[in-house]
Amino acid sequence: MELLKVEGLTVRDEEKGETLAENISFSLSNHECLGIIGESGSGKSVTCRALLGLLQGKLAVTGSAAFGGEELIKMAPQRLREIRAQHISLMMQDAMNAFDPLYTIGAQLAETFREARGMKRREAWEAAAAVVRSVGLAAPGEDPARVLKKYPHQLSGGMLQRCMTGLALALKPEILIADEPTTALDSINQRAIVENIRRLRRETGMAVIFISHDLGVVKYLADRLLVMRRGRIVESGEASEVFEHPQEEYTRYLIESRRRMSGQFRRAVSEGGAHD
């Protein structure tokens, strides 16, 4: 079943007369993971923000994005907020700025549950504790309050990002939009986040839009792939197909760059494997 259908989405900056995203069309089915890759400034984030009505300033959005029969573009802000609370979650790169430094992690997680799910105070706190456990920040026997009672500056960027992931997933959205969630994290935290997303896809059948310039992670997660450049879609198709047999020059260039960079590492690891 088709969950989200985007057609001819265009974002223009009227002030400067620039087009940030042009004629973007894609669809997302139940249970599917769509990867979007491209360099910075290719319009990946802008597209997703436009879907959720999170663009600010004088950006004109045209086109259509249908979510379960409802049109997201030009939707009333109130309804859009409900959609964001109930159905579509967004996860961002910058976890440091996403948390308010004045409140503890637990308070902020619980507040979100109370707002979005109408939970009672105690119930929300339990849910927050479950979040911390689910992303492995508190071992099963450990008291999650130890993490919940901390302020954002007391946790590392990776831990905050994991909290964000946990929260986004605990809301059990139908669609998760993850905008470069693993960039700037070390591989352990990166892996934890990616595995969490995979697990939840298995458990709840949530659909994911995963934006990243890290091809390795996208390849690991995505079923289908969208390659963007300068606001346009360059190539799209089954992820494995695009990675194995890229049709476009630009896609090949992206893949080659990444291959070259990780080449030494792959060699070191596999050679070592031969020694063992």
């Binding site: 070390d186 352990i188 990780s262 030494q264 070191a268 494997g273």
Partner: protein, 257 residues
């Protein structure tokens, strides 16, 4: 050759305000061979940036010593002014927004001679020529000389930062997450560029990053720093044979493309 011996650094807490102190480096020792490229890998909060600041002389260690060519760091820096340089992660904060690319590139050079850019006319044309050749070194077009930082893209700006870092012909270059904020395609180009520059100017690199794949692609040997302690040191080609649990889990969780 850089030797860091049992260096400790902690940030003082305050009894009055009830702030707890924090021990960032708990006895770190490492050796960086001359002309080599040594990687330092660690997650956020592992103390790798603190170590960089100590090596750059921006802060002083609480205990232990840092020797360069057998000479104590501060003394070495006095004897060899400008022979150490750095590229930071955050390229937008790394350049003064009021200056043009040319002024940024030549800062290290003019500051050494003390002319502050007010030299004689023929000197100035020499300097402009030097700025041009620096831009050529990092594959940027020469017309960028008169531009201001905000007119450049992230990749271009980071290349300007690299060019500026090598301008005064340093012997030691510290790269503190220098490529982490860049796109993968640009990362690859910058890594290649860095490798080329190292040969051209025979520099010693300390390459600090959290991305193991990037480190492996440029470094000869790698140190793993975890919570202020060096967990392991290995040559890059022996990467698969690391023993310590931290290095192991870091390695195992890499999602290879």
């Amino acid at each position: 050759m850089i030797e860091i011996r049992n260096v400790k650094k902690s940030y003082r807490g305050s009894w009055l305000s009830g702030k707890a102190g924090k021990e960032v480096l708990r006895g770190v020792s490492l050796t960086i061979p001359e002309g080599g490229c040594t990687g330092l890998v660690g997650g956020s909060g592992s103390g790798k940036s603190t170590l960089a600041r100590l090596l750059l002389g921006l802060e002083r260690p609480d205990a232990g010593e840092i020797l360069i060519e057998g000479v104590e760091l501060r003394k070495w820096r006095k004897e060899h002014p400008g022979k150490m340089s750095v590229v930071f992660q955050d390229y937008t904060a790394s350049v003064n927004p009021r200056y043009t690319v040319e002024q940024i590139l030549l800062e290290a050079v003019t500051a050494q001679t003390g002319t502050g850019g007010r030299g004689r006319k023929d000197e100035n044309t020499d300097l402009t020529e030097q700025a041009r050749s620096l831009l050529r070194d990092v594959n940027l077009p020469e017309h960028l000389l008169g531009h201001y930082p905000h007119e450049l893209s992230g990749g271009q700006l980071q290349r300007v930062c690299i060019a500026r870092a090598v301008a005064a012909n340093p012997k030691i270059l510290v790269l503190d997450e220098a490529i982490s904020s860049l796109d993968v395609t640009v990362q690859e180009q910058v890594l290649e560029l860095l490798a080329g520059l190292r040969k051209k100017y025979s520099m010693t690199y300390l390459f600090i990053a959290h991305d193991l794949q990037a480190v492996a692609s440029i470094c000869g040997d790698i140190y793993f720093l975890h919570q202020g302690v060096i967990e392991e040191h290995c040559a890059c080609r022996d990467l698969s044979r690391v023993r310590s649990s931290y290095a192991r889990s870091l390695l195992d969780s890499v999602i290879i493309f």
